[in-house]
């Protein structure tokens, strides 16, 4: 039982075949994806066949099953934990997914307060959630921690919706919980990895006393640009450098934003009291910068890092001489 769009598509197809266009009734609880019609096929209870569907009369039979049983079966077969509770928090129903997720059987937990699932540090959550549900609000994709029967903590994403009776009065709450421990772990690993990549790809190297080189690899997004700027400026201060060579040989494409970041970096370097030289400006980059109308009039630029180094030595009043000269 997925989104509205899919349901109406089914309805359209049915009516095209000239059959009665009754769609399945929705439920007023907060049900999410996860139901597998395939389960039904395997158990022989329901055939995922549109023609058979079309024979359903509104609210009546589907291949021998009444709608209520059918909907209950959907809940039971869901991978997500789906459970209903009273407005006071006592658990009324507990599906198979909940048994697997939390480790409690339905018999063990029905009637007990939902707070047995909540770790002591988050004890306030339950009354807060129930308050919102009583007001008719839905708590959507709330990420938090819950505790299993064996004491293990799991990360879950909860959606809690009010259950209304036929008159519209709120009589309880229904919760769908999805375990996101793995997802969360992967998300955190990704963040760590992203940071590692950032660290690795924005090195600032001292190439001589008073000269630092910052070779750009790849593209410069705002986060990298910020990190890069801070790193470069810190290095300039730490090494007491007079010149910073910003090498863009490794930058494949330069867009307005990257150019802006570069100019900001150069300005900051100047404010510190060092000279910034943009090196490795290849024809393609030069062309793009000219087309973008970026004004680099007061920025020293060179086409190669070597040429930039020459500029740096000049600033420091240094020159490189051959060992043979000193014979």
């Amino acid at each position: 039982m997925r989104k509205q769009a899919e349901e109406s598509t089914r309805t359209e197809e049915i009516s095209r075949r000239g059959e009665p266009e009754e769609a399945l009734e929705g439920c007023s609880g907060g049900y999410h994806s996860g139901t597998s019609i395939k389960n039904f096929t395997e158990e022989g209870k329901f055939m995922a066949n549109k023609r058979k569907l079309s024979r359903a009369k509104a609210g009546k039979e589907i291949e021998g099953l009444d709608t209520q049983t059918f909907l209950a079966a959907i809940v039971e077969s869901s991978d997500d934990a789906i459970y209903g509770k009273t407005l006071e928090g006592a658990i009324l129903s507990w599906n198979h997914g909940a048994e697997r997720m939390y480790g409690y059987s339905a018999e063990e937990i029905v009637g007990r307060p939902v707070s047995v699932l909540v770790p002591p540090t988050s004890a306030d959550e339950v009354p807060q959630i129930l308050e919102r549900v009583k007001r008719g609000e839905r708590v959507d994709h709330f990420e938090t921690a819950r505790v299993r029967k064996d004491g293990q903590l799991i990360d879950v994403s909860l959606t809690v919706s009010p259950i209304r009776d036929a008159s519209g009065k709120i009589i309880g709450a229904s919760t769908t919980a999805r375990e996101i421990t793995e997802q969360k772990r992967l998300r955190e690993a990704l963040t760590v990895r992203a940071k590692e990549i950032l660290d690795v790809s924005t090195p600032v190297l001292q190439v001589w006393e008073g000269v630092v080189v910052a070779p750009f690899i790849g593209t410069l997004d705002t986060q990298r640009a910020q990190q890069f700027m801070e790193r470069l400026l810190d290095k300039i201060v730490a090494t007491n450098s007079s010149v910073a060579l910003l090498d863009v040989t490794g930058v494949p494409a330069i867009d307005t934003r990257t150019a802006q970041h570069l100019i900001e970096t150069i300005t900051s370097v100047r404010l510190l009291g060092a000279q910034a030289v943009l090196t490795g400006v290849r024809p393609a980059i030069a062309q793009t910068l000219a087309h973008l109308g970026i004004n680099l009039a007061d920025v020293v630029t060179r086409s190669s890092l070597a040429a930039g180094l020459r500029v740096a030595l000049d600033v420091l009043h240094l020159k490189i001489s051959s060992q043979d000269d000193e014979a």
Binding site: E230, L233, E264, L271, L272, G273, A274, V311, V315
Partner: protein
Amino acid sequence: MTNQNISVAKVRDTLMVTMPADPDDVTVTIFQEEVLRAMEKYRPKGLVLDISVVETLDSFFARTISETSRMVALMGGRTVIAGMRPSVAITATQLGLTLGGTLTALTVDRALDLLTQPHPRRRLR
């Protein structure tokens, strides 16, 4: 934080001012007044403003620095800002605060070098 003590030191032919950590508007104004008074008294070649302990640079401070630098120039001197912190530099750039054409130096030492040399080292093209 009101710090009324802005002392302007004369080091050879240069004026040296060390800005306190978190100067408020009053302090910044006093800084300018003291500099002008010292300019008149000593007629130095230049001014070194040491901002190595300053953590925040607001627009008023930036503007006052630019103004002071222009006044010093009008009186025949040159100004160098020394020791700007990386975080201050980044913030200033992102806020678009320029210090006009004021010279900058990594350290007070270098600032003095800049002012005592006949031609600035950093002239470049």
